[in-house]
Symmetry: D2
Amino acid sequence: MEYFTSDYLEGCHPKVLEALTRTNLEQTPGYGLDPHCEAAAAMIRKRFQCPGAAVHFLTGGTQANLTVIASILQPYEGVLCADTAHINTHETGAIEATGHKVLTLPGRDGIILGSQVSIAAALQGDWEHTVRPGMVYISMSTELGTIYDLSTLSDLYHVCQDNGLYLYIDGARLGAGLMSPICDIQPEELAGLCDVFTVGGTKNGALFGEAVVIVNPALQKRFRYMMKQRGGLLAKGRLLGVQFEALMQDDLYFTIAKHAVDQAMLIRDALLEQEIPLYVDASTNQLFPVLTDDQLEAIEEDFVLETWERVDEKSTAVRICTSWATRPESVQHLIETIRKL
Amino acid sequence: MEYFTSDYLEGCHPKVLEALTRTNLEQTPGYGLDPHCEAAAAMIRKRFQCPGAAVHFLTGGTQANLTVIASILQPYEGVLCADTAHINTHETGAIEATGHKVLTLPGRDGIILGSQVSIAAALQGDWEHTVRPGMVYISMSTELGTIYDLSTLSDLYHVCQDNGLYLYIDGARLGAGLMSPICDIQPEELAGLCDVFTVGGTKNGALFGEAVVIVNPALQKRFRYMMKQRGGLLAKGRLLGVQFEALMQDDLYFTIAKHAVDQAMLIRDALLEQEIPLYVDASTNQLFPVLTDDQLEAIEEDFVLETWERVDEKSTAVRICTSWATRPESVQHLIETIRKL
Amino acid sequence: MEYFTSDYLEGCHPKVLEALTRTNLEQTPGYGLDPHCEAAAAMIRKRFQCPGAAVHFLTGGTQANLTVIASILQPYEGVLCADTAHINTHETGAIEATGHKVLTLPGRDGIILGSQVSIAAALQGDWEHTVRPGMVYISMSTELGTIYDLSTLSDLYHVCQDNGLYLYIDGARLGAGLMSPICDIQPEELAGLCDVFTVGGTKNGALFGEAVVIVNPALQKRFRYMMKQRGGLLAKGRLLGVQFEALMQDDLYFTIAKHAVDQAMLIRDALLEQEIPLYVDASTNQLFPVLTDDQLEAIEEDFVLETWERVDEKSTAVRICTSWATRPESVQHLIETIRKL
Amino acid sequence: MEYFTSDYLEGCHPKVLEALTRTNLEQTPGYGLDPHCEAAAAMIRKRFQCPGAAVHFLTGGTQANLTVIASILQPYEGVLCADTAHINTHETGAIEATGHKVLTLPGRDGIILGSQVSIAAALQGDWEHTVRPGMVYISMSTELGTIYDLSTLSDLYHVCQDNGLYLYIDGARLGAGLMSPICDIQPEELAGLCDVFTVGGTKNGALFGEAVVIVNPALQKRFRYMMKQRGGLLAKGRLLGVQFEALMQDDLYFTIAKHAVDQAMLIRDALLEQEIPLYVDASTNQLFPVLTDDQLEAIEEDFVLETWERVDEKSTAVRICTSWATRPESVQHLIETIRKL
C-alpha cells in the first residue's frame, strides 16, 4: 500500500538528517540561544527580506498558533478567521484555553476577504458587551489547499491596518503555498503583507519545527517569555536551528515544496482528464477529488487516501496529499490507476 | 573550554540517533498513534512494572508538567510542592497560566515531607475562601540533585492517599535519581509510589522527550485531548516512540544515567578531599560546591560551570553537571584541577 | 419619554425593597451562609419541586453563566448553544476567558433542537483534535423572546442524557418564559428537564440576583469554591437571600412576570392588528416588530425603543421590552400610538 | 450575643438605604452608564483630587482585585504582594485563575517595603524562565489592620516607578486606613501615591460596591471590557452610583469610617490597660488581641469574636472588628467585660 494520507508520514529530508547527525555531539547553550538558531534566523530574515524581524523556533503548529495569538491579543480580544481555520476546527480549543474567542467568518474555499473583516470590525463598534477583534488569522496555503493571491492578501492586510488589527499568517504549509503554479506572491514579499508569519518545517522536510517570524516590532517584546510559559521553549533548541539552517541552505525549503506541489499537479491533471469533480479546486500539495464508491474502492486496492467528507449517497470527497518525500513512481502508479477508473 | 553547565549540551546518544536514522523514511500515522510509540510504551510499562499504566510522550519538561497538572486539578485546586520546585521557580508561571495556584512548602534540600503535606491539607479544611490542594508535585532527582528515599516517599504517598491528593513525580532527571548510589528505590517500585510520573529523556540520552506514565486509572481519561489543546501532540509523534524504544532497549536509559552519576561522584570525592563545602549534598549528576573566588577563577581557566548563588563576600555556589555524554577524560582533568586548588 | 428599551430600567419591586429595608440592620454571617439564603433556597427547591437541588445565589447573569459552565466542563470540553445565545454574542468572551470554546449551532428563532445536538455529538466522535462537547446551554425565554415547549425541551434533554452532555438552562428571563401564554411547561416540571437552571431576579423584580439551581447531584460538589474564585461570592450574601425570599413569597416572582408578559401581549395584538411584521414571533416580555422609518419616527416622539437590526433600506427591527414595572397606562399609550400608524 | 466578627454583618448605612429607596423607580440606562454613576465618579475624582482618573464600580473585593490585576498584567507577568495579602490567601486562586502568578514577599505585619520590591525586581533580571513582576499589590488598611505611613508608601511607589511596576492599592478598608489616628496620609494625597486604588464600600456603609479609581491614564483603556468579561458589569449599575453618591455626600464615607476606628481604639485602650498582648498592633477597625482560654471563655459569654490563630497551648489570637454600624453601648459593654478579666 502506498500512502497519500498526509504530508507528515516520514521523518526528515536526508539533508536535514545529515545536519542533525553532523552536529549531534556539539555542545551548545540551551533554549535556542545557540549559533545554529542565530544562523537560521539570519537566513530566514534574508530569504524573506525582513531584516528587522524577530525569528523564534517552536516545535509544532498548534503550539506556534496559541503562543503567537496569546502574545498579541488583549484579554478581551478575539481572533478573526475563516470557519475552516485550523485554530477553529482542529486544535481542541487551544486558543480558547488561552482565554480568547475565535471569531469565525464564512470562508470561500478556506479564504476570507478584506471586505468581510471590515464589516466584522465595524459591527463590533467598540462595545464592551462583545469580544473586540484584535487580529486576523489566515493560513497560506489554507486547510483546503487553496492560496491567497497578491491582490486579495494586500487588500486584507490594508483592511487590517485600517482597523487596528494585526494579521498573522499560519505558514504550516507555506512552502506549498508559495510554490503553487498560480501563486503570484514571492517569498520576499510576504513580510510586507502581514505582521507575523510562520515558516512550517514539520510538513516540509523537518522532523518538526515552525519558525515564527515577527515582522512588526510592536509585537516582538518578550516573546520568549510566552514560549517558555506555554511549554514551547525546547531545551535543546539548537535542534530547530540546525534543521532550519539545512532547509534554508540553497533554498532547499522551496525546492522540496515545489516537488510536492508538482507531483500533486500531475495527479490533478489526471483527475480532471477523467472528469472527476473536485470538492475544492486546490493548487498546492493537497487535492480534494470527489470519488464515487466504485472509484474509491478501485483506488484503495493500492493506495491509502484520507476520507474528507461524505458528499452524497454514493460519493465521498477524499484528500490526496503529497510531500517532499513523495516518490514520482508512486505518483505515476496513482495516475495510471486514475486513468483506468 | 570544557562545559559542565548542564545535562542538555549535546544532541542524543548515538544509539538514539541510529534509531532515528534507521526509521527516518518509514511511513507512519501521526500524533503518536504508530507502532514505535506503542512499543516504547509497552517497554516502559514492563520496566516500571505498571501493566495498566497509560503512557504518553511529550517533547519537554515544562510542557509535561503543565499538561499533567492541568489534567488532574479541578479549577479551584492547586498543587503543593517545595518552594524550590521547577514549577514554582523556572517555568514562567506555566501552571498559573492554566489557572492553578502553586502552593509552596519550605523544602529541605528540595525535599518535602508527608508531615508537611498533612498539615497543609488540614489547614485548608475544605473552606471555599482558600485554594484547595488537589495534588502534590515532587521531582526525582530534585532540582538540587537530592533524592527521596523509599521511606520518605512511601510516607508522602500515604499522606497523599489519606488526604485525597494525587502524587505526581517529575522525572526530568529520573535516571540520575534512581541510579544514585544512595537510592534505595528500584525502578520497578516507582509506579507503586505515586499516581503519575515522567521518565525524562531530554536530560538523559534523547534529543528531546518526556514519557508521561499515568499509573492511576482515574487520571487516564482523555489525556490526549489535554496534550493536543496544550500544543504538545507532536505531528510526527513516532520520533518520541523511536527514541524511547532505543533508550529502553537493554536498559540503556539506566546504563547511561549511571554513567553520569558515577562521573559526578568521582568529582564529589575530589571536592570533599579538598574540603570544599557543598551547598547541598547532592548524590546524583548535579553537584553544588561552594568555591572561593580564587578557586573559581582557577577552575574557570579550563572549565565552564554554572553560577548558582552568591553565598558570601568571597564565595559562590556553582553547579557542576554531568550527563550521559560526559567524557571520563574531562572528568579526570577537572578532578586534577580541583586537587591543585 | 417613556422607555421600553429593557427590563432592567428600574430598581426592585416594592416588596423586595420593603424586605431589604426591614432586614437592613440584622446581623448575619457573610457569604450566603445566613438564614435568609437558607430560607430562599428552600422556597426555590419547593416551588420547583427539586428537594435535592443545591441552590446558590450570584449577582448577575454573565457571572452565573461563566461560573456554572466553568464548574461543569473538563478543560478540553466546550458548550453547545444557539448562535444567538447570550454566552456567544454578548458576554465579551466570558466563557472563553475560563478556557472553554463556545460551540454554536444555527438557532431557529433562538431555539436549538435535540437533533442538532445529536449530530454535533456524533461528529465529534471522541477525536482529540476537536473540542469535545460537554454540555448544552439554552435560555428560557431565549434572547429573541421565544420559548421551548415541553416536547422540544424533553427531546433535547433526552438527547443530552444519551450523549453524556449536561443541559443548563439560563433563566435570566425564566419568569417571562414560564408565564408565556403558549408555554406548556409548569415551573414544577423544569427541574426534571435539565441538570442546572437559573432563576433570574435581575430582570424580574430584584435589584440584582440570579439563583443557580443545581439539580444534578454530580454537579453540586464545591460550587462555592467556583463562586469565590470567579468573584461571585457576595460578602453580604444575605441581600440575595432576602430578595429571593420576597420574590418566592406568595409566588410574587411569577405574578409579576405574568404582568410583564400580559402587557407585551397587548402590544403584540396591536402590532398584528396594524399588520406590522414581526422579526421573530415572540410570546414573552420581548417583542421584535419591524417598523418602517416613518412608523419608527412617529413612535419615537413619545417612546424609546431599542434598535435591534436594520432589516432593509427603509425598515428596522426594534425591541419592545416590558417588565414587572411597566405601567398599564404606558402600554395603553403605546397601543394608541401604534393604532394611529 | 453581640457580634464583633466582621465589618459586613449589617446591610447599609441608613443614608445609603434612603438613597436607594428614593431612586428605586427611576428609569436609567444599564451597566453603569447612568447619571448616578457619573455623579459618584465625579465626587470621587474631586475628593481624592484626581481629575483625570477613570472611575468604575464593581460589586465586590475579589472581583475588583481580579479585574484590575488581569487588566494590568501581560500574560507572563505576576503581581508582587505580602504573603498575607488577601489575593494570596483568601481569594481561592482568583488571580491565578486569570493566568497570573502571585509573587509573595514576607510582610511585616502585612506591610511590604520598597527595598523588598527592589530586590525582587533585580532578581528577575528579565530572564524568560521566571515570571516577570509587572505590578505590586498592597492593601490599605492591610488584612492585619495596619497601615502604610506616607514615607513607606512614597518610597514603595518610587521603587515601583523606577522598576516599571504599577502600584495598586486595595482599599477594601480604605476608610478605616485613612482615618487611623496614626495615619499621616490625606485622602487627597492617595492618587499621587499609586496607579490604581479602590474605595471599598462593602465594609464601610454600602450594601456592596467597590469603586475602582484608575489614576494612571496608561491603564484606563477598555477597562469596561474587562469588567464585562469577568462578570462584574452590573446590569442595574446605577445601584453602585447611588450608593457611592450617598457615601461621598458630606464626606459620609470618612465620617463613618472614623466612627469604626474610634470605637476600635477605645477597645484597644482597654486591652492594653489589662496588659493583654496584641498579635499585631493594629490601629484601624480591626484588633488582634491574644487571649488566654479563660479570658476568651469569659468574653464569649456575651460576645462573638473571630478566631484568628492558635498561638500557644493556652492562648489564641482573635479578631475584634468594628464598623460604621457598631453601637457605642456594645463597645462599652465589651470594654467593661475586658476590664473584669
